[in-house]
């Protein structure tokens, strides 16, 4: 039985019949129905849950009494929940600072989420527990570290059951999008933004040439399932009947081997290190900075973050994450966005190996991730999550890209910056005479003939006060430290 959703608080997650999840300002509350209670208890008291919670890879969860729930949410929000879920258990999860979704991740992060899911499935097996779903939506990232958030995904398994029902979902939502990204050049946003449940083997089969269909890992993940599925009578439901073995050890042996083969497939579709893209060499080679200019820029950003003690930083157009790392080392929690999955993947690798608090996301601020899912309420859009969430926004060497390539008006760009930041914006003004600016205009200089330093400063003053600015000597670039004005 599925409980009705209280209209005053639409559920953010509702597909699992064992419970629903609700978002309230600053709080995440889950209602667990009676039928899910025993599975939940078995999981939360398991060794696997304790180990993962201790390592930070499982979301912290606390049971709420009716009184605590009312206290936490206020009577107005708590009452409809209590009425809709009589006898339910209520849990509160520690919120992950910035929720992100698989279509915003570089392949490296989807790979890390897949590894965590398999690690959990493996650990649960030893305690006669199992996952009932295996999707990247069960994982969020706290900085660069994956966190498993769906405590209702775990159920007690029948000892003789050797079928892993989420196998197909694991393949659809992890392995095939990774394989398509790595081998067919299909970015994750294209495979996952429009499809809630990933890529079907049949989808990928159509994208593969004859030789690729027979090659690993496509043969076992795509071709054979497609052939077998085509031969299956759609009215024959016998394949969905549970098959139990008398020997539980045999069932565990089969599942362990299955997880082992999924790990091998995961290794085969792992994103390669050292990939190149149009933007990956930008900081090093294409950029017209001398090391002197770069040092001056670094000092300017460092001083700004230090002076205002910025704690939550958004780095827009982060490239390989040099300034994100600078902010993270200064103690800030950073969200770094760039439209190129290759550079975002590189930021993740560096942040993960250096244990820096950086969440790197593939987001183009000129075309931010939309809200998705049922009623557009399951996964919020990027701006909805980001608005007012940062006390400093870095817009270094990015505004001219938005002006020229995306044709966004300057006033609009600064208005958005003022919505995103509660305090500071560190911006780099690039004059139309700059060589990079001209490279982007490609003969359309006339569109920007009215832009100059004075025009830029006037546009800034609509939302910000200019705390200070500094010319990068010998260039047509100027750095600005902007602070939101009281009237803005």
């Amino acid at each position: 039985m599925t409980a009705p959703t209280p209209q005053s608080a639409p559920a953010a997650s509702f597909r699992d019949p064992a419970g629903q999840l609700f978002r309230f300002p600053g709080r995440i509350v889950r209602a667990v129905l009676r039928e899910g209670a025993a599975d939940l208890d078995a999981f939360l008291t398991s060794r696997a849950a304790k180990t993962l919670t201790a390592s930070g890879n499982l979301v912290r969860t606390e049971a709420l009494t009716t009184e605590r729930l009312t206290q936490a949410l206020g009577a107005e929000s708590a009452a409809p929940l209590l009425a809709a879920f009589p006898g339910a258990i209520f849990l509160e999860h520690e919120p992950v600072p910035f929720p992100s979704f698989p279509y915003e991740w570089p392949p490296e992060m989807l790979h890390a989420a897949a590894t965590l899911t398999l690690d959990l499935a493996d650990a649960l097996l030893e305690e006669n527990l199992g996952l009932k779903d295996a999707t990247p939506y069960n994982v969020l990232f706290r900085g660069s570290r994956p966190v498993f958030i769906d405590v209702l995904s775990v159920e007690r398994r029948e000892p003789g059951d050797a079928t892993w029902l989420p196998y197909a979902q694991f393949v659809r939502t992890f392995l095939l999008p990774l394989a398509a990204a790595e081998r067919l050049g299909l970015p994750l946003d294209q495979s996952l933004l429009g499809r809630r449940d990933g890529l079907e083997p049949e989808d990928v089969y159509r994208m593969c040439g004859a030789l690729r269909k027979l090659r690993s890992p496509f043969l076992t993940l795509v071709t054979l399932p497609t052939w077998l599925g085509a031969r299956q009578d759609p009215d024959d439901h016998s394949i969905y009947q549970k098959k139990l073995f008398a020997d539980p050890e045999k069932a565990r042996y089969i599942l362990r081997s299955l997880f082992g083969s999924l790990r091998k497939s995961l290794k085969k579709v792992a994103p390669r290190e050292g990939k190149r893209s149009a933007w990956s060499e930008y900081m090093a080679a294409d950029n017209k900075y001398s090391s002197e200019h770069f040092a001056a820029k670094q000092a300017f950003v460092e001083a700004a973050l230090q002076e205002f003690q910025s704690r939550r930083v958004l780095d827009v157009g982060a490239n390989t994450g040099h300034f994100s790392a600078l902010a993270a080392r200064a103690g800030a929690s950073v969200v770094a966005v760039d439209s190129d999955p290759v550079v975002v993947g590189e930021i993740w690798r560096n942040a993960h190996s250096e244990k820096l608090d950086i969440l790197p996301l593939v987001v183009n601020l000129a075309r931010p991730t939309p809200a998705t899912g049922w009623r557009n309420r399951e996964c919020l859009g990027f701006l909805e999550r980001a608005r007012g969430g940062f006390d400093a926004v870095l817009m270094l060497a990015v505004i001219h890209h938005m002006l020229v390539s995306e044709r966004i008006p300057l006033a609009e760009i600064l208005a958005l910056a003022a919505e995103l930041s509660t305090n500071l914006v560190v911006a780099e003004y690039v004059d139309p005479r700059d060589s990079m600016f001209r490279r982007l205009t490609r003969g359309r200089e006339h569109l920007h003939r009215d832009l100059n330093q004075q025009v830029f400063e006037n546009a800034c003053r609509a939302h910000f006060e200019i705390v200070r600015s500094q010319q990068l000597e010998g260039t047509h670039r100027r750095l600005y430290l902007l602070r939101r004005s009281a009237r803005a």
């Binding site: 050797a162 079928t163 196998y167 049949e202 399932p225 073995f245």
Partner: protein
């Protein structure tokens, strides 16, 4: 000896499969081709499981232990 035991186990497994009331818990789509492929792989690995047991029973170490008993 090991082979006979394995055959009994296999026969018991088949009977249990036939007698078990089918119950499906998943709310996620288990697919069709992928599920069939998993069943084939499971059958293959399952055979390996008995083969492994069989090898274990025939292993010299096991024989020595039995002789000692």
């Amino acid at each position: 000896m090991g082979v006979v035991r394995c055959m009994w186990c296999a026969a018991l497994a088949v009977v249990l499969v036939l007698l078990t009331e089918p119950r499906a818990y998943a709310y996620t789509d288990p697919g069709s081709g992928a599920l069939l492929w998993q069943a084939l792989v499971a059958a293959f690995i399952g055979a390996g499981f008995y083969f492994r047991k069989f090898l274990f029973h025939l292993s010299p170490k096991k024989k020595i232990e039995k002789d000692e008993q």
